[in-house]
């Protein structure tokens, strides 16, 4: 009797454990990884664990998070946008040149750069959709074009400077907020961009169609989706967000001709860490934002551990290979 009563109980327990485990399995790995790294950073650097420390961290991470969101749109369609980093640089050095002759031109510079960003996005989209060049080659070619164009424009060295009003977005704070004191404007921009992009990605037909194309372009076309148009819009969004990120990076760090170098790979890494599948069909915006935060947290950790800055690249290489390997093992495409 006792044994027969025990059996169902132990089975119940196992069942419960199994269902809890299933629930845990469904949590994307980026979140626990992020938490663990943040705790580690907090332990190593007590300043980090303060409100101000966290806000500074968020401000530093905002540009990458914004880039990663743009990258998710392109990755979801099955493409890559590797021209993001060069567009960030162009935004900064281009603005400084526009402002060079006219100090009041801060906002005009941003508008002009947004216009250039739109053109870059449309050209990327056109080359991929209509000239049928694989996006890897198309956007790497665009990277050369923008880099060469930017350097040609400046003559090879940074010229001019960025005015206070231009740099406002990247480095200023909203002051006098109760409890927390001040709040970085860059983080507010991240939140605004995040909300707009989340609506586009999760709540409009565009978002569903972006994933549809990446899953199966032929099915999408035969179901009435204008594949070429949607692809172009994905590249357009990515380019516009690259300009936004450029404004934040320039505002925070000033003029530099290498400001955007390598950011495209960081944003791909962030998106993949956040659950995006290369070659399309799956992607998460919120995941990508946390992927970006995780990457920045890892960089902070490396800093605290005293690793020279260039080694970041090496660690990032390991991370992206690991993340893609993890994704290809767990969510293998079935025929």
């Amino acid at each position: 009797m006792t044994t027969s009563a025990k059996k169902p109980l132990s089975m119940q327990l196992t069942n419960m454990l199994i269902s809890v485990w299933n629930l845990i399995k469904r949590i994307p790995p980026v979140y626990p990884v992020f938490v663990v790294i943040m705790i580690a950073v907090g332990q190593l650097n007590p300043n980090f664990a303060t409100t101000d420390g966290i806000l500074l961290f968020l401000r530093r991470s905002s540009p990458l998070a914004i880039l990663a969101m743009g990258q998710v749109f392109v990755l979801a369609t099955g493409g890559f946008d590797l021209s993001q980093g060069s567009l960030v640089t162009l935004t900064i050095i281009g603005s400084s040149l526009i402002i060079y002759n006219n100090e009041s031109a801060g906002y005009t510079a941003i508008l002009i750069m947004l216009g250039i960003g739109i053109i870059v996005g449309l050209v990327n989209g056109f080359v991929v959709s209509f000239l049928k060049v694989p996006s890897l080659i198309a956007t790497l070619g665009m990277l050369l074009l923008i880099k060469g164009g930017g350097l040609y424009w400046t003559g090879g060295a940074p010229k001019g400077y960025l005015t206070e009003n231009w740099r406002y977005f990247g480095r200023s704070y909203i002051e006098n907020i109760p409890v927390i004191g001040r709040f970085p404007l860059a983080v507010i921009i991240l939140v605004i961009v995040g909300v707009i992009m989340s609506i586009l990605f999760y709540k409009t037909n565009l978002g569903k169609q972006v994933l549809a194309i990446g899953d199966n372009a032929r099915t999408s076309q035969l179901s009435g989706i204008r594949v070429k148009l949607v692809r172009m819009i994905a590249f357009l969004i990515s380019a516009i967000l690259a300009v936004v990120a450029g404004v934040l990076i320039g505002g925070y760090g000033g003029v530099s001709i290498v400001a955007g170098d390598g950011l495209e790979m960081q944003s791909v890494s962030a998106a993949v860490i956040g659950g995006a599948l290369l070659l399309g069909g799956r992607g998460s915006l919120i995941g990508a934002v946390f992927g970006a935060l995780t990457l920045e947290a890892i960089f902070s950790l490396l800093n605290l551990l005293g690793l020279p800055k260039p080694f970041r690249d090496a660690v990032q290489g390991l991370i992206i290979i690991g993340a893609v390997a993890y994704a290809s093992i767990t969510s293998r495409r079935r025929d």
Binding site: N205, L206, K208, D215, N216, T219, L222, G224, R226, L277
Partner: protein, 515 residues
Amino acid sequence: MTSEVKTNNVPTMEVRNIDKSFPGVKALDDVSVKFYPGEVNAVVGENGAGKSTLMKVMVGAYKQDRGTIHFQEETVSFNHPIDAQKMGISIIYQEFNLLPERTVAQNIFLGREPSTLGVVNVRQLNKRAEAVLTEIGVESMILPTAMASSLSVAEQQLVEIAKAISLDAKVLIMDEPTASLTSTEVQLLSDLISRLKEKGLAIIFISHRLAEVFEVAEKITVLKDGQYVGTAKTQEVTPEDIVYMMVGRVLDHYFPPLGSTEDFGDVILRVEDGSNDFLSSINLELRKGEVLGIAGLQGSGRTELAQALFGAEPFKSGSVELHGKTVSIKNPSWAIKQGLGFVTEDRKSEGLLLMQPIRDNILLALRSLQPLFGWIHPEGIRESRKLVPTLGEQVDIRVDSYSKEVQDLSGGNQQKVVLSKWLASKAEIFIFDEPTRGIDVESKASVHDLIRELTLQEVAVIMISSELPEIIGMSDRIIVMRDGTIGGELPAEASEAEIMLVATGQDNSNSAEPS
């Protein structure tokens, strides 16, 4: 007749009590067959009867769940197709397995190139290839140095046979080898088969065309719904007997009743003299409430017609009228706006988003009709949440959640998802291309019922099928395609023979017997 045929000699290959299941389907259920040397054993059965699965088990592409495989009286087990190949079991698949950018010789000996110290002896390679081609008597047609991409489909098939011969095959499996061949090419192939037979090969011939089966095979093995029905000697049975074995019952409850003339409404679609690269002078009319069946051999332009009507490969000349207005259907997006829906032959590569949930698949076409930046629930979340389950119940998708990814569904359920996609977009003209390919018998009947239900809702249906019983059982009118144009039109309940006569061009143009 359904009993085992007794032969004295030893079977080259034998399968015993094979079971194989896939999610949602039991593909093979206790199947046992023997294959003898010097004999052509045709394996026949309807789509989904388990022929392809059995072959894949026999060549080591699938692992059986239960049962044993015997080769020359020894129990064997294959972990990899190469194991079966080395033992002398070769298969020629329907889709080709040649590298288009390599030569015939390179293809035949891929992985087995004659070489010394890793350096390929090119002369020897070509010589051996030529010897194999000579062995099967096609050396005058195919050069060892020709690019595979320069060969016709029939020639590519011959190269595959040559490859099998070079592998010293004892068992040669041919999966629908004649599906896309012309009649002279079929003749060539059957000559070749009889020569291979003399060499003592056991040949397994899978085909839909009973006429050919009766011509080449000594024995016919019938599978039905994954079960072994029986093996018969060809001389002792008639095609009718085999059809009876395949279907099991004489086309009883399979099909819903046909429509009647008073059900048919106005002409909704009219094509006059439509032509493009694949089609010429297509003339057809489609009325509301009818099912127009499109029959024809493989490659006769059936699918191309569907693609032209749907704007995937539009007509380049001629005129198309929709609801009495002349239009030009430029692309699928436009066709969908005009109320067309296309249930494609290949669900996985053209009909579904495998990684997306059922819900998004069902709403796919509907959403593409709406503004790109529009809200995904244009009629409000509540309405939208209701739509998917309503459609799901209407077509009887059996799942616990509509958030499940489509790749995890059975073939029948997947097909119903595709159907609901076009129901959601409120299509008025449905084009079905092989609507029941690869789905189990039960789902088949419910797909047929759904098609008929559609016509009762003033929807017009064009149904393409290679299964003549399906064409005959479902169509209110039958159009037979031949060589990219319409070979003829037949009334409802035309016989298989009548359809085949038109499809093969022997209705009026010439009186020669089919070879």
